[in-house]
């Protein structure tokens, strides 16, 4: 037993449901007690989904405990098959059903003989894997199921597309900024002359999974979900994959270089076999991807220029703490250190199963590495380090609130405000802009706060005049006015009010430079 208040990754069935409900026309049936369908609420609320979440429960109650749930599960599957005519029904075990130890596979076999649709049992152990691992596993399971089925029925499309093409694996519902990232990736690939073959699972249908193998290669933007599928496709169908996350300027460039390498070598092989007659844009000599990277980096993305600008210079060496899933925390650490010159005092992840990869990625970029799923450890670490800003999950944002340290949210778990309506990718060149804003805004806020503190706190103190000037009976002499104008805009009003308040209290009519300093001292004291 473990005393727990908060968890970074949810239970296994959530991962399975996220994958299932991302596909079109796939229905998940949870084998669960009443109230475990909270996933539907999250999808409807956080993602503001307009459609009914294709998840129902086959309720486990007292009767089920007494009689076994066989009939009920089969009945629920066949009923859903008739009602919604889905392509696939995924029976999802929960923590409750895994201790009941009923033969769910047997129910699935029975139900599939009675239904039109495919029926499979999600193969996840509730007590061994978490949400992320389960999602990865389920995605692989579904892909494997449909490719094996296609092989059996000779429907597998093994011929490659004429133009170079890619599958994007691992974009799915309730993912952190996934839809925006997906749009940005598509744009990037279009720029490179690569078409998108399939995006799996978000918005796709399981019936087209047999076309997966037509793509030249696979892209796994987030290593948490999709890597298992990519490895499976590489082993079985010899499809190469790119698992570099195109987050930040340097990684995006690396991502593009990897793609180019794959495409070029495949193009040579394919044209040798005479399968491809027209060489695609990318492989012809006139497309120079290095100059594309250079152009994008220096002029389309503003992030490189931002790093060079005075703004960012002021951030040099500032201490930060980074915490999140392995993908985002590692990428963010590298961006902060390599691209912005900040100091990451501690980088950490809650993806304990992927700790080795994480350590390897951030080695050399941070003083300390923290691998934990206990939020109190992260909180203590932050309190000890006292960074100027935190980049973490919603939990770290709240730790930041308590300790008065600004926080930028860079990873799930997230709240509704992390499902913005506006376009906010984290990947690709637009992503670099968004990240630069996020980082910069976190710090300015911290600075602003600090200045307010120096000049006497927030607006809770008594207000003398609501308007900033004009109505005042006090006059400022020229030098004092000049001095006032030197003060940054966002605290100028505050300083002015404090000075005038001081002047009134001391019966001073003309504010001079000396009065200003005296006022400042009086406030500080």
């Amino acid at each position: 037993m473990k005393l727990a208040y908060w968890m970074y990754a949810g239970p296994a069935h959530i991962g399975t449901l996220r994958v299932a409900s991302s596909f079109k026309n796939v229905h998940a049936i949870m084998h669960a007690p009443l109230g475990d369908d909270y996933f539907n609420v999250m999808r409807s609320m956080l993602e503001r989904s307009r459609d009914f979440t294709p998840v129902t429960a086959s309720i486990v109650d007292r009767h089920v405990l007494a009689k076994g749930s066989g009939e009920k599960v089969v009945e629920n599957i066949t009923r859903k098959d008739k009602e919604d005519c889905p392509d696939l029904i995924l029976l999802t075990p929960t923590c409750t059903s895994s201790i009941l130890q009923e033969d769910l596979q047997n129910f699935v076999n029975r139900a599939s003989t009675e239904s039109q649709c495919d029926v499979i049992l999600a193969d996840v152990n509730h007590y061994r894997v978490n949400e992320i691992q389960a999602a990865d596993r389920t995605l692989e399971q579904i892909i494997r199921f449909y490719l094996e089925k296609a092989v059996k029925t000779n429907q597998l499309k093994l011929d490659k597309t004429m133009k170079p093409s890619a599958n994007i694996l691992g974009m799915f519902t309730l993912g952190f900024h996934n839809t925006h990232d997906c749009r940005e990736l598509k744009k990037l690939l279009t720029d490179l002359g690569i078409s998108v073959n399939l995006i799996v699972p978000e918005g796709g249908s399981v019936t087209v999974l047999k076309n997966l193998t037509q793509a030249w290669f696979n892209i796994v933007p987030y290593r948490e979900v999709g890597l298992m599928s990519a490895i499976y496709l590489e082993n079985e169908f010899n499809m190469p994959y790119v698992s570099t996350t195109p987050m930040g300027i340097i990684n995006t460039a690396n991502f593009i270089r990897e793609i180019c390498q794959i495409v070029k070598s495949l193009a040579v092989n394919l044209s040798k076999k005479d399968e491809i007659h027209t060489l695609p844009v990318l492989t012809t000599e006139n497309f120079d991807f290095e100059s594309y990277i250079d152009q994008q980096t220096r002029f389309i993305s503003q992030a490189a220029w931002f790093s060079r600008s005075i703004d960012c210079q002021n951030l040099t060496g500032k201490k930060t703490v980074v915490f999140g899933d392995a993908t985002h925390a590692a990428s963010m650490t590298k961006i902060l250190v390599r691209e912005m010159g900040l100091k990451v005092s501690c980088a950490g992840t809650y993806c304990k199963h992927d700790a080795d990869w994480f350590r390897e990625q951030v080695a050399g970029y941070t003083d300390q590495i923290l691998i934990t799923d206990d939020h109190t450890q992260v909180g203590d670490m932050i309190a000890r380090i006292e960074p100027a800003a935190i980049f973490g999950t919603q939990m770290e944002r709240h730790v930041g609130k308590r300790l008065d340290i600004p926080c930028g949210v860079i990873s799930a778990p997230v709240h509704i405000q992390n499902f913005p309506l506006g376009y906010r990718p984290f990947l690709g060149y637009e992503g670099t802009n968004q990240i630069a804003d996020l980082v910069y805004n976190s710090f300015t806020l911290g600075m602003e706060d600090h200045l307010l503190e120096i000049f006497g706190g927030h607006d809770t103190k008594e207000v003398i005049t609501k308007a900033l000037s004009n109505e005042s009976d006090l006059t400022w002499n020229i030098t004092a006015l000049q001095e006032l104008n030197k003060i940054p805009g966002f605290v100028r009003g505050k300083v002015k009010r404090n000075t005038e308040k001081f002047a009134r209290q001391n019966n001073i009519n003309v504010i001079t430079l000396e009065v200003m300093y005296a006022a400042k001292e009086a406030v500080a004291a």
């Binding site: 005393l3 908060w6 968890m7 959530i14 009443l34 909270y38 609420v41 409807s44 609320m45 129902t56």
Partner: protein
């Protein structure tokens, strides 16, 4: 589908495939109500995930609840449950020093048959903090019924008149309860002298509503001698044979049963004080039991109705559909029929016809007086069938859970999130406005959007 009718009301029962909150959600309001308590939910990651997400921001405020998260070694009995729970409870005692620890049993503890009721008294004696066990699990209960299981368990801990008057038994009470026992003893002596039998109300309400309802009864000359639950565990009301009890929420049937059977209290079966009509009927029923002729109640109700007129004009003649998830449905429907609405269907997770008998009677009477057909009451509804019916009936408002609210809105069906009724202040005369504020909110919002022509947002 089972058809079953009591008198003229028709009750149906569907498949039970509906969406509701897990009953463990009751910790979110009970830990705030009982200020010196600590709630320990003994369950899995699934329970924790639900609480974490359902309670949203509360989770960051160092709440007085936690999960005892069961791991594989607990399930396979490699670890000793008793030792594990002792370790966690000692940690809680050290960190928070609560007056009571409430163990919430979940589906998992049921299935692996963890003997919480057996372990609690032993551990209680060992660590010196009362431990109450409530089995608020999704196998047996829905949403608000969680509170019912906790209060039923707590009813057993209320001091009794006879034992308090018998001084010899005081020694058996835990040492840290001594102070409050003395206080209780004094109260018990006063009660036993008093001419009127004492009245204890049960159901968890925010402090301000408690005061309002107390005053409402006081103005009729009836003083409330205690509430279950009380603001602090040490102030639990005194129960016994001459104590009358009355519920303020429709989902408290187990608590009522426990109070009657185990504590020998007399239950006053009344409609619930929701809406001015319900509040008046509730006060009247209590008055009649105590042989008091209510004063000025009718005028008071009329006055409240007058103040509601601006809202009533918005909903009069409009239709409403309750999908059912929190057991407040019958009372709310009865109030809204009185407001002039037409109720198509009352979905409800569980219908205790005995505990709700007075409420059902008032519903029937209201329908007759307002000259509207009796609504169908659907127990254990099936959300899929309900949505087909909603599409057919096109009600003006649908009261539903969050899982269906946005998808229905996108299809041009106006909804109100049902959970808000559980957390809003809806009891008593003066809070009737609050109910209508909630009900009319989507209608008022839609008035502003009428000209946009954007009612359907799906292809």
């Amino acid at each position: 589908m089972n058809l079953h009718s009591t008198e003229n009301l028709i009750f149906e029962c569907e498949t039970g495939n509906y969406h509701t909150f897990c009953p463990i959600s009751c910790v979110s309001w009970l830990y705030q109500k009982i200020e010196d308590s600590f709630f320990l939910v003994i369950g899995t990651k699934t329970c924790g995930y639900f609480l974490q997400n359902a309670l949203g921001v509360m989770i960051f405020a160092e709440p007085r609840y936690a999960m005892a998260e069961l791991e594989e070694s607990d399930i396979s009995a490699q670890l000793n449950d008793y030792k594990e729970l002792k370790r966690l409870c000692l940690q809680i005692k050290q960190d928070r020093n609560p007056s009571v620890i409430v163990w919430i049993g979940t589906c998992t503890t049921e299935i692996i048959k963890m003997d919480l009721e057996g372990m609690a008294p032993r551990l209680e004696a060992e660590i010196g903090i009362p431990i109450i066990v409530a089995r608020a699990n999704g196998l047996d209960y829905a949403f608000t019924q969680g509170e019912d299981t906790v209060l039923a368990a707590m009813a057993q801990r209320c001091p009794s008149i006879t034992s308090l008057l018998n001084k010899k038994q005081i020694a058996n009470v835990l040492p840290n309860l001594m102070l409050s026992s003395l206080k209780h003893q004094k109260m018990a002596r006063e009660l036993s002298k008093s001419e009127h039998p004492s009245l204890v109300l049960f159901g968890s309400l925010p402090g301000t509503i408690v005061t309002q309802l107390n005053l409402e009864l006081q103005s009729q000359g009836i003083s409330v001698s205690g509430w279950l639950p009380s603001q602090s565990y040490n102030d639990l009301p005194i129960l016994g044979e001459n104590v009358y009890v009355c519920g303020i929420n429709p989902f408290l049937s187990r608590t009522a049963t426990t109070l009657m059977r185990r504590r020998k209290c007399k239950l006053i079966s009344a409609p619930f004080p929701i809406g001015p009509d319900g509040t008046r009927a509730w006060v009247e029923k209590i008055c009649s039991v105590f042989g008091v002729v209510p004063q000025g109640l009718e005028q008071r109700e009329m006055k409240i109705w007058e103040t509601l007129e601006d809202y009533l004009s918005l909903i009069r003649g409009k239709s409403i559909f309750f999908m059912g998830d929190n057991l407040l449905e019958i009372s709310l429907a009865r109030f809204l029929i009185r407001c002039g609405m037409i109720v198509y269907e009352i979905g409800i997770p569980y219908m205790d016809k005995r505990f709700q008998s007075a409420e059902l009677e008032l519903l029937k009477k209201t329908c007759q007086q307002m000259n509207v057909p009796l609504p169908r009451i659907v127990e254990k509804p099936d959300n899929y069938y309900q949505i087909q019916r909603i599409k057919e009936l096109q009600p003006d408002i649908t009261i539903t859970g969050m899982a269906h609210a946005n998808p229905l809105e996108a299809r041009g069906i106006t909804t109100k999130w049902s959970v808000e009724f559980t957390f809003a202040q809806i009891h008593g005369f003066s809070n009737s406005r609050e109910i209508l504020e909630l009900i009319t909110r989507p209608l008022r919002r839609n008035q502003n959007f009428d000209t946009l022509g954007l009612s359907k947002m799906v292809k």
